[in-house]
């Protein structure tokens, strides 16, 4: 079901317990059974709005670091999806919950949010496209995995809209595209047997670090 390519499967495995600590975090379980307090959800949405802006910047950075027209096109499509669709959706959801766009814009980024987004951007600036993709993957693909699972397992409708966003066909298609982008970028830069090269553990480190920072993001959400 949530098969987003070969590199993702390997990186997820390398992340060990950190992966379920993120994808099955109490915050996520609270979305599934509806027990997450509304206030925590709104606090999360506000930070996530700010997150998406910097995440879109990181995907734009990926456009500047692409080596082929295909890499460039897919990264640019992701920027568009984030800037035009996903951020818009956040604004609408927040509006229904009583938060204006001005509220969102003037909110202060929490340290856990800063740590995550700026780490991803720096992974891109200090390395090449692969370093950036390894740091981007846990969010894009992890949300895909969470959305797909909760659409089957959720026992409450309270957060059905959120779950539906990430379980939706178009989001799942984006995840498969991103998985292919990653596999292609790995093959193009490292070759057919990437796990045997010294770059592999470096990429796993980026993936695992970003996975931990995702868990920290949920943690911040619960603390709101």
């Amino acid at each position: 079901m949530t098969d987003y390519g070969r590199a993702f499967a390997k990186w997820r495995e390398a992340a060990g317990d950190h992966w379920p600590a993120y994808t099955r975090h109490p915050f996520v379980q609270g979305l599934a059974d509806g027990s997450l307090p509304r206030q925590a959800f709104l606090g999360y949405l506000t930070q996530d709005y700010l997150f998406l802006i910097h995440f879109a910047r990181a995907w734009a950075l990926a456009v500047t670091k692409a080596e082929t027209p295909e890499e460039m096109r897919l990264a640019a499509a992701t920027v568009s999806a984030l800037v035009n669709d996903e951020i818009r959706l956040h604004i609408d959801t927040c509006a229904r919950a009583g938060l204006t766009e001005a509220d969102l814009r003037t909110a202060e980024e929490a340290p856990a949010n800063l740590a995550y987004t700026r780490y991803v951007l720096d992974a891109g600036h200090s390395g090449d496209l692969l370093d950036l993709l390894a740091a981007l993957a846990p969010c894009v693909l992890g949300y895909g995995e969470i959305g797909a699972r909760l659409s089957r397992e959720a026992t409450s409708d309270t957060y059905a809209e959120w779950i539906g966003t990430y379980a939706a066909d178009d989001y799942q298609a984006l995840c498969r595209d991103v998985g292919q982008l990653i596999d292609g970028a790995v093959a193009r830069r490292i070759g057919p047997d990437p796990e045997q090269t010294p770059r592999w553990p470096a990429l796993c480190r980026h993936f695992t670090k970003a996975t931990k920072l995702e868990a920290g993001f949920w943690e911040m959400g619960l603390a709101e």
Copy 2:
């Protein structure tokens, strides 16, 4: 007609004779009267294909340097227009002329091309969004001005498709949007009286330098 905002008008004026040396270059006149040799046009198209890839990267860099959602949205829309439409158009035009996409991809960037695109990218990396926009403006808005003028003045149909691309309503609308983006970015960062500040001559220098590099690009086209 070609009113693309206040900053552009001032920068164009500050560029002095360099502006018409670019927009009324013999290459451009050869497009207008059809006297440009086909071979020179194809050589130009090939380099311009490579140019657009790096130009799209520069607009993606602008997304990473935006300060407001509006700046981000417009820069992202320009990336999409370049990656999905304008580059595609080049591939189609070249295909009709017998150049395959593989020909385009494997062509070597000429030094005049390298000098221009990498200068623009570096203006962005070394400065802020305004520095980048000042270096991006001569290409985007100059082509708008050339397209609009040639659509009125051309005496030959030979290069009507090229002229039509840049005279078209959607390209002219893009130019007005970019002009507004620039004026807004100037107001937001420098204030209502930008010409009196020390940043202004620095921005004019970027604009004039990029204008000269545009002329060098036509020159390269003629030399093909």
Copy 3:
């Protein structure tokens, strides 16, 4: 005494209570009166070693964004001082406390550390030299101010070496040089009356944000 230039004085004032919340944080008071637990100090030193590496990267980024040979020279001198002297000093201090360089290198960056260093790097990547300098200033100049004050006010010798490092003539001279670099960079880019321009609040925001992240860094130190 700790006069590090005009812009710093204004930015510090604009930071309001956040400035003393950083420079007079309980961690700092614990350095002054010797009450800071050794374990907290060693935990801080370990994170500060990692911090300095990324701080040196941020000063190297400043070299790439300098506009004059003087700006370039001073930023390069700061990189050298950090890479060759200050990081070395940390390694020696830690060695005496039983922490090897390998311990330092393999330590994991805490989120508060990540948030701070990557925020500063991103301030540089997204903006120009001034944005970067405004985000760098609280650390460099705040430590100068803390060192100078504690050298007069400390009531214990326990942390005299740490205090001596930042109270030392060469560190104080560095702070004055950085203060001049900032004032020159402000004059060159914004002009003689910077506070009246829209860039000023943006620079104050970077300074205040970095100041808060410094307080978060001490907080992390206490929590170790």
Copy 4:
């Protein structure tokens, strides 16, 4: 004699005829036999002053992309050598020839100069440290090779000072250090058998491109 490591030897071989087209360019032969017109040499020195500023920026970018303290230290030392020594030497040589520092600063960068320096910077921004080092290598190590050869083969004293700079022990030591930095960075990122990986041809392309741009720089020097 000019053994600057394994990767350099392989990259030089891969560059084929482009390598001697650079290192044995007529401009270089004119330095060896004294036949290079003084005016051409001064024109070259002026452009080279501007080149060194951007080359120092590129080495500073390498500091931001280093993965180990050793990589960082050596890149930082190269920035210092460029900013404090080599640029200074240029200013002194030019002063003796009647060119003031103001002349140098206000000179306009030639397109061949722009193309080269900005290409190197972009190789760094778009890739990782290895991409940047492959683009930096032809200048640093090629000058070492040229200096060492001309110190043996020169038949005129006219340009003995220039030759002496690059034949000198400290410059040759720098070349060996840079060669080691490259070999270490290759081993750390690609592994013991780098030539078999897809990254290798990409690195060779950067090296060859920069080699061609070096030849273009000499060409510009002759055209002055």
